[in-house]
Each structure stands twice: as C-alpha cells, then as structure tokens.
C-alpha cells in the first residue's frame, strides 16, 4: 500500500491535517465555537467556487475567502457578543448561497465535488506544501501565544484585566482557523472537516487531563483517526474522507465506553 506515491502523499497530508486540526480545534471547542468549523468549511467552499469561476487557484481563493470570513466573524463577535451563534449562521448562509449560485451556474461544477467530499488520494505537491506551511505557521504561532491563547479561552475577562491583548489574540486565532480549514478541505472535504477539528478534542477531553496533555492526546487521537481511516478506506475501497469521519466517531465512542475515568 505504501509503495504507491498517491498513498504516501495521502498519508503525509493526512498526518499534517491530523496535527493541525486539533491544535486549532482545542481552542475552538473550549470557546464553544464548534459551529465555527462548519461555518468556515462552507466559506471555503464558496472560496473554491469563486476561484474556479474566476480562473484563480481554487485553494488560494479558498484560503483568502475563508480567512476573510474568519476575521469578519471575529469582528462581528467582538461587537455583538451575545449574537455569536446567529452571526455564524449568517456567514454560513452567505457562503452556502455563494457556493450554490456559482455551482448551479454550471461554471464551477467540474471540480467542486473533490472539495465537498475531499480527495486525499489526489493531493498534489502544491497541496502538500500549502498544508505543510500552514501547519508550521500554526504550530509556531500557537507555541508563541500559547499562554495568551489559553488564558483568553479560559477567562477572557481576566486576560483583559491582566493586559493580555485579547483582541489581537482573538484575531490571530481567527486567522489561523481560516487558514487551517481552507487548506484542509482539499484533503478531508467540507462535509467532514469538523470531524477532525472537534472529535479528537472531544475524545481527548474524556480522559480528564490538564490542557497540555489534552492537546497532545487530541493530536495523537487525530493521527490514529486519519491513519486508520486511510488504511480502512484502502482495504474496503471506501471514500477516505467519510471513512476518517467514521473512524473519529468510533474512537470517541470507544473512549466513552472504555475510559475508566468516566463518571
């Protein structure tokens, strides 16, 4: 299986997304913005559709559109805090609307499916490079702002009082979120990206550990989900994105059932 170059690329891409998604996901889940993953995944679909119709690189236009959507949501959230969920619905609806209109126009339907369902087996070197760059950037930025990100997520008021630049930290996080989701959908697909952002973190949280341990556990669980998902999809000849999504649910259920710490 590993002798095929497409499988090697798939494993590398999958491993990077498995590392990238929980790093962003842990902050997303703990801020209770799980819906943000879905919203931005749909924004990236609109970005892809715009790119295909306008003749740009779909991945690049997805990166630009999704990042702008993430920053826009953060801007609105900062101003209308009590309406955060509604604002995400608005951005999601806008994105889906743009994507459907462009796809139904006939100009973008040739390539859109691979972004909708993911196409990990056909990732190019350019895709790999993009995911690698975003993974390195995300790991570096999260390492640099590690304390500030945790503090802002755990106690935003306390962080603000102690002079942590909460707004800056939130915008940086929104930027990372947009970038991560945009480069990941080519691999996992719009419909299952949330599974890799949310589920490994939710699974790791069942073990009731501190933040650092939970973060590393969720990366480990994400890697298991992706790698086992890929192997199973190869063995039973199923779509990799869907198989990875099912694997992440299976891992979480397993953790729920077997975890001795569960009350």
């Amino acid at each position: 299986m590993l002798s095929y170059p497409f499988m090697q690329n798939a494993l590398m891409a999958g491993a990077m997304v498995a590392i990238l998604s929980p790093i962003v996901g842990i902050f997303l889940v703990l801020r209770r913005y799980s819906m943000m993953g879905d919203t931005l995944a749909h924004s990236s679909l609109a970005g892809v559709a715009i790119g295909i119709v306008a003749g740009f690189s779909p991945t690049l236009s997805a990166v630009v559109f999704t990042t702008l959507a993430a920053l826009f949501i953060e801007f609105l959230r900062d101003r209308f805090k009590q309406y955060a969920e509604i604002l995400m619905s608005v951005v999601l609806t806008l994105s889906v609307g743009i994507a459907i209109v462009l796809v139904s126009s006939g100009a973008a339907n040739t390539n859109i499916n691979q972004y909708l369902f993911g196409s990990i087996l056909t990732v190019t070197r350019q895709d790999l490079l993009m995911v690698l760059l975003v993974t390195l950037l995300t790991v570096s930025v999260v390492s640099y702002y590690y304390n500030e990100l945790i503090y802002t997520t755990f106690d935003e008021d306390g962080a603000s009082i102690i002079n942590i630049p909460v707004k800056r930290v939130n915008y940086i996080f929104a930027l990372l979120m947009g970038l991560s989701i945009a480069v990941s959908i080519r691999i996992t697909g719009v419909l299952v990206i949330s599974s890799l952002i949310v589920l490994p973190v939710a699974t790791a949280m069942q073990f009731r550990q501190g933040f650092r341990k939970t973060l590393f556990l969720s990366i480990g669980i994400g890697l298991i989900d992706v790698l086992l998902g890929l192997v199973f999809s190869y063995v039973i000849d199923s779509a990799p994105g869907g198989t990875i999504a099912l694997m992440s649910v299976f891992t979480m259920v397993l953790a729920l059932l077997l975890n001795p710490l569960r009350k």
């Binding site: 304390n147 500030e148 945790i150 503090y151 106690d155 009082i161 102690i162 501190g210």
Partner: protein, 229 residues
Amino acid sequence: MIEIRNLTFSYTGESPYLISDLTMDIPGGQLISVIGENGSAKSTLIKLVVGLLKPLKGTVKIHTTSVGYVPQKMETFNKQFPITVEEVYKIHLRALGLKDNSLIDKCLQEVSMQDYKKSLVGNLSGGQTQRVFIGRALLGDPSLIILDEPSTGMDLRSQKEVRKILKNLREKGVTILTVEHNISAAIHNSDYIIRMGDQSGVLYDIKTFKTNIQHEDVDNMLVFRKEEI
C-alpha cells in the same frame, strides 16, 4: 486608593442609568464590601473599576499598578475545561512576566490549596475553586484585590473560609474591594461599606463609625451589628 469621579453608566448607553454621577474616594489598606439589592449595580461598579466596562461619563483612577482580580466565576465556569490549578497559575505568572514557579506553591499555601496543585479546576468544589482564583490574584503580590461576588453559590462553610482569607490579606495590608451579599458578614468583616442603590452609592465607615450615618438601611444594619456584638 480608588478615585471615582462623576461615574455614569448604563448598558444601553442612555438613560435610565444604572450608576449616575457617582463620586467617591475608596481608601487603601482597608476591607471594603459593596452591598445592595439585586440590580443595584454592585457588579457593574466592580467591572467599571477594573476596566471591563467603560463609563459613559466620569473616571475611575486606581492609585496602584498591582491589582489582583477575582471574577464572578462560579456561574459561568466551564467545568469540562481541561486545565489544572498549576496550569491556571502558570499562565497567569507568564502573563505577569514572572518566571518564578515557586510563587505558585506560596500562593496556594496562602489559600490552603497546596494539595490541589495537580487537580483539574473542574473537579474542585465551589469554595475550592474560589480559593484557587483568590490565590491566582495573589501571584503578582498585589496591593489591591478586587472580587466580584466571591461567595455566590457557596455553602456557608466555604463562605466563611473565603472571608477568613480576605481578612488575613487585609491584616497584611492588602486593600480588598469585594461584593458581598451577606449584609451581616459585610458589617462584621469590613472596614468600609459601599451601599449601592438609587443609581448611586454611598461609602460608610463601618469600623470607626466616623461617618454620620443617615441612610435608613445602613442604620438598620448598624443596629443589627450592635445586637450581634
């Protein structure tokens, strides 16, 4: 210690105001309890003092740079948040620009929580959680600690423990400004009381009875105190 001048605030940005034209000098080195009925803007005053809310008019000046804040955490705290007491203290230390981890043990001892350093905050009881947050506020060795309803949702024993910690800190010269629901406890433990209500607040010198008490409610409180004593 805290200078409030013509403070005016409402959440809508217009009249009716929750606080209107409040002017007050809150003294240093004292334990000051903010009391008042529900909706009398006790927590709002605290949030204005620490800068979480911006006044529509007026100013709040704190004459010290070392301020510790204990949020009204019990109701909003996510019990599933995977973070240990030690991690909470570490991120606070780093935010203060401090690297001396021995301060963590020292502050945990101050609040008698040294045995819970490795515990998840979500596994602690309400009283223990509040003590952890008071200990966190001590990390920067503050001269002023501001607490927003520290005893809300706690059992009586935990409330007593928190009040004891606050009294000990006050004896060490730390200024304490706290919202207190229990009027009897406020009168017993405080040097000063700020009674919020009618869009304003009045500062009463409870310890020395120097102020000419005029407000009926506070008169009643003082009678109550005398009876208790």
